[in-house]
């Protein structure tokens, strides 16, 4: 056999050629497989990525809707400011990335060049503020406070300022009409965060990078309506950001306006009077602590009794919401959130909670009646009540003999309620409770809507607390360890309490129950809860969800969606209990604990009902509560560390009523002066062009109704007088 095969090659070469061929075709198959994987299997993913790659959006922000008062007066609207902005895509086309242009711009705007350059650079993890965190295709605002002069310079020398625009732009404004600042109710805006952006991406109202988002108050609750829809123009761009494709255009839709039930005039009165009351209280001596009252915070709510609509809501301390416009400065933010400022961002009407004191007695009275005690029965009202050696004083330190529940409400006799609560406590088994307890006093509180939100259309309302058995048990479990550690049998007051709590903190003790019956102890309520309750007593028992928003008027004025009053419960009145309580509360204003504040009140024309409250807070001065209502309005005011109910809050509340009804100090009505003798029912008039009529508004002049002077009595309550 020849060494060389016929094909001219050896077996070895032949095999190797086949190996090469197999290798080659497996490489090609690999490519084909990979191509299939990328294009067919995962094609959609890459298609989406390609889309993101080459489509860029330019956003025309929608003008945010206004927040109006009940008559159309703007509480929050927009003002036109001259905003100078720089287009990054234009600047980047220049040789020096636009440095020269920006430097020239800084000169015109009286700013430092560095400052302007920093504002235009893009944010990333390494770049500190200031920097632009929006889309690089969006014009970047350099300042929103350009003068007309500066804007003209920029426009006239357009060739010196390529990529720079100076245009009037809508910027949020809180005009505080008639000094009605309404800060906490309105809320504020701040730029959208990355997290919100991704979260809202696939919802029906996605955010845009440039969006401002309502952070609290109405701005937050009605954010979606107010925001409108931004206009988006989509451009196809190449890798350098140059526009190569056609634009797709969605027009901007301006945000809807929110008409509220707030009356700016009444709001101004409420704010002024609350502040006034607190300032006066700060001049008064507190006989318990021998210091002047601190009156550190306060709130007042004016509510329509038949709808639950809020006519005004004020909270102190307050702030200027305009501080948030155009981005809040670090210093302002620290001031607004610092402890020193006592948290002015809190809306204390819905977020402040305190023990209610005697204004709670309407709950206890109803509870007693429902538990089977005759409203008109005779109940002893001694000056003190003792349980197992512990003495519970009648805070007025006065005995009235045997009185009815109505009279007990009028004179705010604590011992009547002590007795009833103690009896009920016994009936429920005392310290060793029965399996099924009635808990009339606690059950009724829940029925009055306490311990849960009223459902007002403002964010972050707090619930308050009903210290019932369930709560006690939970609270005990959470705190047992601390109490047992701290408690000493014969230590300080705090240590003794802790010792006691450690032993039987989970039990409902007699002391807890009697204290609770007069609104002291662990009970917490918010002003809005009490206003809702007193409004319900006035309207026959319906607990309305308080509302601030009254109607949503679309940006073009074409559609109006009214926000109807909604109820969330009925007060558990049986028979004529409501009427009797109503009568007793009228008695409070005419001959009871608040009578001295309503001298000269035209009770026959405008029946006034009131209840005073002074809540004890351990380690602090007393909280002043004043809950009132007429046929149409319910006003609740509270001042923390402010003294007694009628003492600190009485005159202020009466002045608000005076303003509403047009009364002078002597009780003479002048309807011309009355701001709102009847609740505003009609919505403000909407013009065919979509604008809303707004009446002119005069600031509140407190001198128009002289302060109520009642001869022979000091402003902050007679000595020893407690509600």
């Amino acid at each position: 056999m020849s060494n060389i095969p016929e094909t001219g090659r050896t077996q070895r070469v032949q095999i190797r050629l086949i190996v090469i061929q197999v290798l080659v075709f497996s490489l090609l198959l690999t490519l084909g497989g990979r191509l299939w994987y990328i294009q067919i299997r995962n094609g959609q993913e890459y298609t989406d990525e390609a889309k993101n790659n080459h489509v860029q959006q330019v956003v025309q922000p929608a003008v945010r809707g206004a927040i109006l008062d009940a008559r159309g007066v703007p509480l929050a609207d927009n003002e036109t400011r001259l905003v100078v902005s720089a287009s990054r895509t234009e600047l980047m086309k220049m040789k020096d990335d636009g440095d020269a242009v920006l430097t020239r711009l800084a000169e015109v705007l009286d700013m430092q060049p560095r400052e302007v350059l920093d504002k235009v650079r893009l944010c990333d993890s390494k770049t500190p503020q200031p920097c632009w965190n929006g889309s690089p295709y969006q014009p970047i605002p350099v300042t929103d406070e350009a003068t007309t002069q500066q804007a003209l310079q920029i426009r006239e020398r357009a060739e010196d300022f390529p990529g720079i625009t100076a245009e009037p732009t809508a910027v949020r404004r809180y005009p505080a009409p008639g000094k009605a600042n309404t800060a906490q109710v309105l809320g504020y805006l701040s730029p959208v965060t990355d997290e919100e952006l991704t979260k809202a991406q696939n919802t029906d109202s996605p955010y845009l990078r440039s969006d401002q988002v309502g952070r609290s108050g109405l701005e937050r609750t009605y954010d979606k309506e107010l925001r409108g829809k931004a206009g988006v123009t989509r451009y196809e761009v190449d890798n350098l950001g140059r526009v190569i494709g056609q634009a797709e255009n969605d027009k901007a839709e301006p945000g809807a306006s929110v008409v509220t039930s707030i009356d700016a005039r009444v709001q101004a009165v409420a704010e002024y009077e609350l502040n006034q009351a607190m300032e006066i209280a700060r001049k008064e001596m507190d006989r318990n602590t021998n210091q002047r009252y601190k009156a550190d915070s306060g709130a007042v709510v004016v509510m329509e009794t038949k709808t639950g609509r809020i006519v005004s809501m004020a909270s102190l301390p307050t702030y200027d919401p305009n501080a948030w416009v155009g981005g809040i400065s670090g210093k302002d933010y620290a001031d607004l959130t610092g402890k020193k400022s006592n948290f002015p961002l809190l809306n204390r009407a819905i977020q402040g909670q305190a023990a209610p004191g005697s204004i709670f007695k309407v709950v206890s009275t109803t509870a007693a009646v429902n538990a089977g005690y005759d409203f008109d029965g005779n109940y002893p009202c001694p000056s003190s009540y003792s349980i197992g050696g512990q003495v519970f004083k009648n805070f007025e330190s006065q005995g009235y003999g045997s009185i009815s529940l109505g009279r007990a409400l009028e004179v705010s006799c604590d011992t009547v309620y002590y007795g009833l609560a103690h009896k009920e406590w016994h009936r429920d088994g005392g310290i060793r409770p029965k399996k099924k307890t009635n808990d009339w006093f606690y059950r009724t509180a829940h029925q009055f809507g306490l311990g849960k939100e009223t459902g007002i259309d403002l964010p972050n309302e707090v619930t308050g607390r009903v210290p019932d058995r369930q709560w006690k048990e939970n609270f005990f479990r959470a705190n047992k360890e601390g109490w047992c550690k701290q408690g000493k049998k014969n230590g300080t007051y705090v240590e003794m309490i802790a010792y006691e709590n450690c032993l039987e903190g989970d039990r409902m003790r007699a002391g807890d129950s009697v204290n609770y019956s007069i609104g002291q102890g662990d009970t917490l309520v918010t002003p809005i809860q009490m206003a809702t309750i007193y409004a319900a007593i006035s309207n026959g028992g319906t607990l309305y969800n308080p509302t601030v928003g009254k109607a949503i008027v679309s940006g073009d004025g074409r559609t109006v969606r009214e926000i109807q009053p909604k109820a969330h419960g009925k007060l558990p009145f049986e028979g004529d209990t409501r009427d009797k309580i109503d009568e007793a509360l009228a008695g409070v204003a005419t001959r009871g604990s608040a009578a001295w504040r309503f001298g000269g009140w035209p009770q026959d024309k405008i029946p006034m009902h009131a209840k005073t409250g002074t809540a004890e807070v351990y380690g602090k001065q007393t909280t002043s509560w004043f809950a009132t209502y007429t046929e149409d309005y319910s006003i609740v005011m509270t001042i923390s560390q402010g003294g007694t109910g009628s003492g600190a809050s009485g005159p202020a509340v009466r002045n608000i009523y005076n303003a509403l009804y047009g009364l002078d100090a002597a009780g003479k009505q002048n309807l011309k002066k009355a701001l709102l003798p009847k609740p505003q029912k009609a919505l403000p008039r909407i013009q065919p062009d979509g604008s809303i009529d707004a009446p002119k508004i005069k600031p509140y002049d407190p001198a128009s109704q002289k302060p109520v002077e009642v001869v022979g009595q000091a402003l902050a309550g007679a000595p020893g007088r407690r509600d």
């Binding site: 090469i20 290798l23 191509l35 990328i38 390609a50």
Partner: protein, 396 residues
Amino acid sequence: MAGFSVSRYAPEQSSWARLTARDSVVRRLDWPLLSSSLALSLIGSLLVWSATRNRDTLTHGDPYYFLFRHILNTGIGVALMIGTIWLGHRTLRGAVPVLYGLSVLLVLAVLTPIGATVNGAHAWIIIGGGFSLQPSEFTKITIILGMAMLLAARVDAGDQLHPDHWTVAKSLGLAIVPIAVVMLMPDLGSVMVMAVIVLGVLLASGASNRWVFGLLGAGTVGAVSVWQLGLLDDYQIARFAAFANPALDPAGVGYNTNQARIAVGSGGLTGTGLFKGSQTTGQFVPEQQTDFVFTVAGEELGFLGAGLVIFLLGVVLWRACRIARETTELYGTIVAAGIIAWFAFQSFENIGMTLGIMPVAGLPLPFVSYGGSSMFAVWVAIGLLQSIRVQRPITA
């Protein structure tokens, strides 16, 4: 007898009859090979056109500039192929020492000041008038021819069954010189292709297994030591890093691979249609007319179009394999195998990097990528394959 060609011995026939005669060169050409190569070049011209018609900085405002240049390059390439067939690979065998010497001189010239750097690789000679030369493309051919000449000489003469160790060593020495020079440029992509060519040539030559595995081992050790000794430039290391993790730096090194994959992936089954790919129109893929030309096929022609490109490359390689197997002399076999190794690896590397299964290396896709040197070299290689086929005896 060198230069033997049947057709040249029929002077009495008319030229048309000569060309169409049953045993003519034209009849014996490998037509599937030729038509696939032509089809690839023409598809390439469309893709190059699409990739460049908006790139004003490259085209100087003439959107057809690259289309015409690519067609022109293809024409020159076809002419070079015809010339190569006419000369015949056996004729060229005699000229190999000269050609080899010339190509080594050219790659050396790149290292002198007349060389130019393009995309980090100092691999070009600018001729002027918009022309430039990448000598390493031609070196691929001369390495194949030179090694084939040495390895096949004694076997084809019938003296040996397989090349002996000394011959293999000599042929490796012949390859090492230009490879070393190209490495100095540094043009790592070409070095990789040349190394694979050497491997393919050795395999086909029938050199002992020890050489084949020894070379593989040496290649591995070499690659590791190059990495360890830090002989690579930063940009080369970055390319490998980006291959390992494209998400690493999407704006920097990973940008190319990322954008390339987006372009290919967004094509789907049928693609966006020629000129309608947003990635291509928007110029998101750098070097799209040369190294990343496959992404245009992927995006605008879809799985069907890009698959067709791979299929046509497959036809070329299939025909080349047939030619390698059917020729009777080892010289032709080795040359064909070298070309197969070259085309196969370069295509796999080029397409593989756009699909993210190979690291980025600056290599053109045969026939399809824009670039004269590559186009000419590839067509000369086709000429060599045709010549091997034409000159084998009709009956084996």
